[in-house]
Symmetry: C2
Subunit: 171 residues, 2 copies
DNA sequence: CAGTATTTACAAAAATATTTGTAAGAATTG
DNA sequence: CAATTCTTACAAATATTTTTGTAAATACTG
């Protein structure tokens, strides 16, 4: 499923293309797959990022198809997902019409975009819903529910400093 | 799929058991389902927590089967998952042999257990893998890979203050 | 300690998410 | 601006996760 990125056969002395370097590269990709999984991304996204992390040159979708054995559309979608969170960035001025990408070396950009795209929007959606429920609970004149929501809002209050820390990373 | 928790028919004046209070309760459970999803838990876990959040009395697995329309084993597994992260706690001294649970009102306990059970272990596993890869990369004498790992470790350095903040919540 | 009730473990079924293949849409080049 | 290449969108196929049902294990009661 995984081939050697970046280096051509001539640079890789291992027999049958399954030498020590390949094993290391597989392990590194597996590491990124785990990282992606932890962040809620599918395996393929981790593989793609791993491949780009390994590759010395900017990478295009067809490289991924060829070396990771995934479909063209899977490659496209994965690249889009990584671009969305700023994990990779377009590499310009390449003598090839196809879009090429390379690793985003600025961690700040990655964290910022990830928070803005993947963390804050669902969090704000939850806050919106919570606010709406709070109104309805108040109107319901149900003392038990009112008490539960008091607790919920106290929780929210305690959590907000932490969210503020994250927000500060965004600026 | 959802029935009215806590309150018996006599307390609930709505016709056919589908009055305004029921709608609100469904919405509140839906809120917790979304929260659970955000944290990587399946729908059922969110429903169970929502039901316990709503319920005035401690809840047992059969209550969940009856009111949420889930299977007995699903109820058991969901309760276990919630117990693991400290979202609910056992309610003792109940005149019933079955295990009863209620909402964990101490947010501190919840955050602490959640971090210890769900966040830190996979993070440490990644660190372990990263350290192992670092060794292998150093041994490989591949300058490009070495450079990539330098960057990775610099990233790790920048992220560690944030992890330290989380760790401090654990104490 | 025998009998019953409850919980846990695990394989099968169902539901959900991911990946793929194809076709339509843009963009680029000559 | 026609032809070609590349990308995007979306339905079908595949893979994975979640839920269920049953059976084994454990704990309680009389």
């Amino acid at each position: 499923m995984l081939e050697v990125p970046g280096s051509s056969k001539s640079e890789n002395p291992s027999v049958e293309g399954v030498g020590p370097l390949d094993a290391l590269e597989r392990d590194i990709i597996a590491y990124w797959v785990q990282t992606a999984t932890l962040l809620g991304y599918p395996r393929s996204v981790g593989e793609i990022f791993g491949y780009i992390f390994l590759s010395e040159q900017p990478v295009n979708a067809d490289d991924l198809v060829e070396h990771l054995g995934i479909s063209r559309s899977g490659a496209g979608q994965g690249l889009k997902a990584l671009l969305d969170i700023g994990a990779i960035r377009p590499a310009h001025n390449i003598a090839d019409r196809r879009d090429h990408y390379q690793m985003q070396s600025d961690l700040g950009v990655l964290v910022k975009q990830f928070l803005n795209v993947r963390v804050f929007p669902p969090l704000e959606e939850l806050r919106r819903q919570r606010d709406a429920l709070k109104e309805t609970v108040a109107a319901s004149r149900n003392p038990h529910l009112a008490q539960r929501f008091e607790k919920l809002l106290r929780w929210q209050g305690k959590a907000s400093p932490l969210i503020a820390v994250l927000k500060s990373l965004t600026s």
